[in-house]
Symmetry: C2
Subunit: 467 residues, 2 copies
Amino acid sequence: MITVDIKNKLVEVVGEQYVFTDQETLNDYGKDHTEDLVFPPSIVVKPASTQQVSAIMKLAFEHAIPVVPIGARTGLSGGILAVHKGIGLSLERLNQIIKIDEQNLQVITQPGVITEVLQNAVAEKGLFYPVDPSSKGSCFIGGNIAENSGGARAVKYGVTKDYVLNLEVVLPNGDIINTAANTLKNATGYNLTQLMVGSEGTLGIVTKIVLKLIPAVQHNVLLLVPFFKMEEAAVAVSAIFRAGIVPSALEFMERDAIDWTMKFTEVPDLNLRPEIEAHLLIEVDGNYPEILMNEAEKILTVVEQFQIDEVLFADTQDQKNALWKLRRNVAEAVKQNTVYKEEDTVVPRYELPKLLIGIKAIGEKNGFKSICYGHAGDGNLHVNIVKLDMTDELWQTKVPKGVKEIFELTKSLNGTISGEHGIGLVQKEFMSIVFSEIELHLMYQIKKIFDPKNIMNPGKIFPSDIN
Amino acid sequence: MITVDIKNKLVEVVGEQYVFTDQETLNDYGKDHTEDLVFPPSIVVKPASTQQVSAIMKLAFEHAIPVVPIGARTGLSGGILAVHKGIGLSLERLNQIIKIDEQNLQVITQPGVITEVLQNAVAEKGLFYPVDPSSKGSCFIGGNIAENSGGARAVKYGVTKDYVLNLEVVLPNGDIINTAANTLKNATGYNLTQLMVGSEGTLGIVTKIVLKLIPAVQHNVLLLVPFFKMEEAAVAVSAIFRAGIVPSALEFMERDAIDWTMKFTEVPDLNLRPEIEAHLLIEVDGNYPEILMNEAEKILTVVEQFQIDEVLFADTQDQKNALWKLRRNVAEAVKQNTVYKEEDTVVPRYELPKLLIGIKAIGEKNGFKSICYGHAGDGNLHVNIVKLDMTDELWQTKVPKGVKEIFELTKSLNGTISGEHGIGLVQKEFMSIVFSEIELHLMYQIKKIFDPKNIMNPGKIFPSDIN
């Protein structure tokens, strides 16, 4: 598919040292954090500028070669897997923060900047980019745009889409567009910005990003509440909001999630009583410590209506870091312990108990165990179905059936099948659970407008019978 | 265009008493709040349900009849003007709040509910829908979706788009879709919700809306700061944010805006010193009065760096209402006093002084006066170009030239031509100032996907050479 002629032209664009065809590199760029899937591209190129991205796309368009935009490869839905081979276009060299605009509270950045690096850079100027995916230490801001990433603080501060003001995008034919203006408000034409956010690299390649920032928030209080009953933890989530509190994080972890994390990763042991079924990790933030204590008190009043063990207040930054590490390491602990499959269910937050009970029942019926945790304040529950000692046959038959049932449950609760991980490769066959044929067809026609030759990350988002 | 046969079929759908062809009704439904423009539809129909809307669209699609969705007719860009005649489809009978969901902090509503009615209904349950267009007492929530309306509190709470979770939409061919799920997070397919928001009735008809709510906020502090220098008021706007404050409103009014409002509408006289050039109206809100006083103090510290007169604190609710009435009545005061043309410029907030100075210079060069006011915290400045004693000839030649120059200035400051009023009819010829041909073409192709026969509010948003 990639002829010598094409390769030479790619070398002309980016230089020989940024074109790779060795199997090791192809394999490296053919996997992300989605299970153990590997789909190497035919060739990897690493452009350094918008113009180079545009030149590559012009070439690919002319020859109808699939192109997969590749970020930090931390995705959880297989968005960067080159299922149709072609060019793996890594954005890692577009890694400059172009401007931190302290006057307008904005940052202009290239896509290949690590999210935490961006956060730290703006924090040095007293500014705050609150979107906080668990992978923030390694994921790229461009990938966050592609997947509309969320994370722990979305419950108060929103997700990636809520901070994107304007995007520079290279279209599949190499044309370069801007989606909007660098303004907080915009009622000028269709919202191309929000069409790009969450489109998982299927409409174009984002090469420049304008993000809104907010003033830094100076204090926070973190507490860990152990519940004797898992469902009560889920019920408490919406009760906290009904008490008028908007926490800056409200995370749920069922018992196994914590046990596994304590066992398999380096976090302190909490010496939990065996009867504890789940925890809520709750943070409130603001600029006035006395108010935060007041809000923490109100939260206590709410959770004390349920059967809980002693609440742990994190007094020091070290204690806070330890609790956050515990939360952030759950995925890693599961990964180290067993083959697994992760689903990213989301429902209106009060439906969380029904979702949780339903997932457990579906697991029991189909003979699989799941570890559930996630951003409960958003109604976003990560479901890790774990293989453990299931036979391969059961794993391959019962799990897809169970996943389908979980997604149907999600839909019946007015929810959907991905809150923040995207559809990518691994969820695409489930799209018809949540969208009608008309709705999917409408989306696919939009895809064709941007990408008439279907070269832009083909084989993603849409079910096979549409693609 | 509307044959007897078509009329009879419309009568079959909605009933005889909801089909109108008398000139008075046609005229009524052929104008909004945009200057003195009147473009009556050929017929007005008032469906009562999604199914009726769908039946009307099926009929219109079959016969390629233009349809204009009509809300409360408070728009400022001529979005509902039936420039191609056809069916005026009023949503006024879809006026039910379907469910206030206190558990999930959501409201499900039909589009024909007055925004303030919706706000009051959720407030009774201790909940808050913060989007606050100046016309909230008469506009429909469906119109807010169409225009992505903002208002005074957008600076802290965001605009309409930030609260829309899911929409039921009748497509131009009569198909009914849902754009998303009722969830706070969503990474499942393209964002059809945000494509609909702000699309000004050109892609489909919104028949059901799911909005996010937040817990009620209990207190606020309002202050009015008189500036001796207009530009300094504009500079102070971004200085307030840089001090770490996010006000819940930050409004700018130049001197004439206040004088005209005091003169022509019923608001108390502020006995201003003649040297005052502009005011900022600043609100902070929250649940802790002592914190609000602290924040008000910080704001004082900022504004006292500029040349200001005595700051007015609104102590009572009556005083607050009076100040807000002053702000909200500016548009009315201009309208009562002269022929005018309103522009809805928006720039990154720190560019506001440059915008303001530029607008005044453009006015001077072209011989027109403007009254400027608006949501300065968002960089959103409403520019009312006033005719007063200009000759018709000068009005018709100099003003369009000046408007073009103002929009070019806006673009050069990384801004755009509408912050919250939309493009509609009156700004569409200026779209090529802020979008390239490729960008406009992309938008128009999206339009064609939804609306292949160009029957859905035709003649809006896109410049004539595209439409």
